[in-house]
Point group: C2
Chain length 424, copies 2
């Protein structure tokens, strides 16, 4: 196989961009030997061209103008590591229009405009658009969903896809830290409100389930209401609390109907997701044929993310040289089932007056709202009496109605935020 | 995208072949919609054409002659699910020669003749040869190694890749079964001697580390010597015993030197591989950039394996229709470092006479053979005294010399089979 030079233009030289350049330096010989691709970085766009940098790139290759990189005649392929929706969307579209493959790690952009960009990539000159690093960093999830599982009747994908929130929950669980302490220790820009995970859920849905979903369609609940007490109570009942992005196929086989949500959930300690600690990510896939599959690894960090970007760069470069782009069908919008129509098992904590007959009254409210109780235990007594319920699967709507009715009871003092419970 | 029919010929209609046909039936519409490929099974080779079958295939499509399937003008692509080296190798080579893509789940064939077949596939008419199902069943390991991690400086891959032995060890560990009882419960054809895992290790080395390795080059030790006592002792020290296939890059970066071995190992209970139970498989990947990555799932079974075969069939079919084969470079033989030159930490159990000075003598033998002791504890006393050692990393050669010398000591009654210990 004859060697071919492929010239990269990089938008953004932050942690990932610098790691990518270092990796290309280290692995240049190996990549050349295995693929015949001679990768070189010819241009990069940065905010401040005068800032001192440790990466090995000629000062003359730097520019503050992203479009200059995209349109440069010395750039065959564009790696977009800036993030955000504009001006990156304009850059990505222009590159595709020029027939230049694009590799991006930009979850916001894909979660908002993925389907549009897939079509742009397939339009006219067929050009690869790859984004393995956008979801779960170094974990090869996109390739698994898009290639390996293309024929699989996927049922559900549940992921721990935000390292910061998993770190916070791990600190609270393993070291008894309070939410405030764990948060202070973590990156303050962390997406504790769940929006980072929601963008990733939208991408997983679009790539894995055959219909496009945008981040605004994802039902989201963050972790800021989770207390050390919740985590302790969950653990004593055999559960860990994890922030999960959940994408499910609902409705009939072949339908493009999905449910997509992000929320804290109680996961049995025996479930593989329960032991995913610190800032690790993991994605648990349930399919009608493949059964249970889990991918685990580093969801962020310069070198893990750089590794995923490099895998894409090599695929796109091999495709570019041989005129064979990564083929991806256009995706129509998926039908997204509203949260209120979904079913889950729930954990509910009810603070009550500790006297005869209260349990029967409270249990009666669950029953009359179609919520069946799986287990109940009382903790504390007198003024501190708490009833901990785990329900069988019930609709979100019925559970909400139950909570409204419970709040009206005189003997009920307080009701905790309900937590969804993931089955074994 | 215009639809294109792709006609499959299947060699072997056992569990996986039947699951594949059922899956193609179920997923035909989805696959057509997402890829434009209209998959049909036109011919299949079986041992006995008259045996009643539940699969949906016309009786006239069956033949006892594998070559008839391969050469049929109604077959565009061959799926090989027979196993073994001959006559399958002849069939696979003939199919590739005819420009027909081949999908196979045949680990023996690939472990013995992989490099040769890669070259045959790339030769003349470039044709895909895909084999995701050959290692770790439904787990998308081959695609991860070959695509996602193509630019990754891989350091080590450790896998639980034989479900039967993992089931036996899990039964012994979780339910206190004896080896004999656990074995009796499991599939009697199970590869307790480690040879099944060795074939998979050879394929992992060839695909992931850039140089070809055959199964005969893999150092192998099975699990038949592992006792319930070993498992109990390991657990009390914080370890699980797992049969691991281990492929490591050794020597300088860029060198094609690897170490490839299969043996039982003590894995810390906190390591993700330790909690892989029953017949599940898992592969733990350590890379210089990606860090730690683990893929977990079903390593066998008709539908999980059928799912992996179907993923390959779709990729090969898309490539066939567009004239774009899966590109794979030819691989030169790797240099395989002999087992004696490898280093590990070891667990060694020594039965001794319980009297003053014995520990010092025994410890002295370790030291004078360059084996440094990390921890020691005594269990039992008098006639039943046992010294349990865990060493720091030492060469296999030095450890063997230590054991020889220990056996010569009068106060040493017995020495257990040493177990390698995997670090955290």
């Amino acid at each position: 196989m004859a060697n071919s030079q492929v010239r990269l233009g990089i938008l953004g030289l932050g942690t990932v961009g610098q790691a990518l350049i270092a990796l290309i330096d280290e692995q240049h010989g190996t990549i050349l030997e295995r693929t015949g691709i001679d990768l070189i970085v010819t241009k990069a766009a940065v905010r401040d061209v005068n800032k001192p940098r440790e990466v090995d790139i000629a000062a003359g290759s730097l520019t503050a103008d992203g479009m200059e990189v995209v349109e440069s005649e010395y750039v065959d392929m564009v790696v977009e590591l800036v993030g955000g929706i504009e001006p990156t969307k304009t850059y990505v579209e222009r590159a595709l229009e020029l027939g230049k493959p694009v590799v991006t790690a930009n979850k916001e952009l894909l979660a908002a405009h993925g389907a549009e960009l897939f079509t742009a990539a397939a339009d006219g000159i067929e050009t690869s658009l790859l984004f393995e690093a956008a979801v779960a960093g170094g974990i090869p999830l996109m390739r698994a969903l898009e290639q390996s599982l293309r024929g699989e009747p996927l049922q559900r994908v549940m992921g721990i896809v935000n390292g910061t929130t998993n770190y916070i929950l791990s600190q609270m669980s393993d070291h008894g830290a309070s939410y405030a302490d764990a948060l202070a220790e973590a990156d303050p820009t962390a997406d504790v409100d769940g929006h980072d995970a929601a963008a990733k859920a939208a991408i997983i849905a679009t790539v894995g389930f055959g219909g496009s979903v945008t981040s605004s369609q994802v039902a989201v609940e963050g972790i800021s209401n989770i207390t050390a007490d919740d985590i302790g109570a969950a653990r004593s009942m055999g559960y860990a609390i994890k922030l999960l992005a959940i994408v499910e196929h609902v409705g009939q086989p072949g339908d493009l109907e999905v449910a997509v949500r992000v929320h804290p959930a109680m996961v049995p300690l025996t479930h593989p997701l329960a032991s995913v600690r610190d800032s690790f990510n993991a994605v648990f896939i349930e399919g009608g044929a493949v059964g249970e599959l889990m991918l685990y690894g580093r969801g962020a960090g310069g070198r893990p993310t750089g590794s995923a970007v490099l895998g894409d760069v090599i695929e796109a470069a091999v495709g570019f040289v041989s005129g064979r782009a990564h083929a991806r069908p256009s995706v129509a919008p998926a039908q997204v089932r509203p949260l209120a129509d979904l079913r889950s098992a729930f954990y509910v904590e009810v603070k009550v007056t500790d006297q005869p007959g209260v349990l029967a009254t409270v249990a009666g409210v669950f029953g009359s709202n179609n919520v069946s109780i799986k287990s109940m235990e009382q903790r504390g007594s007198d003024a501190d009496a708490r009833l901990l319920f785990i329900t069988h699967e019930a609709s979100e709507g019925d559970l909400a109605a139950t909570l409204t009715k419970l709040a009206e009871l005189e003997d009920v003092h307080d009701i905790g935020i309900p937590l969804r419970v993931i089955g074994h």
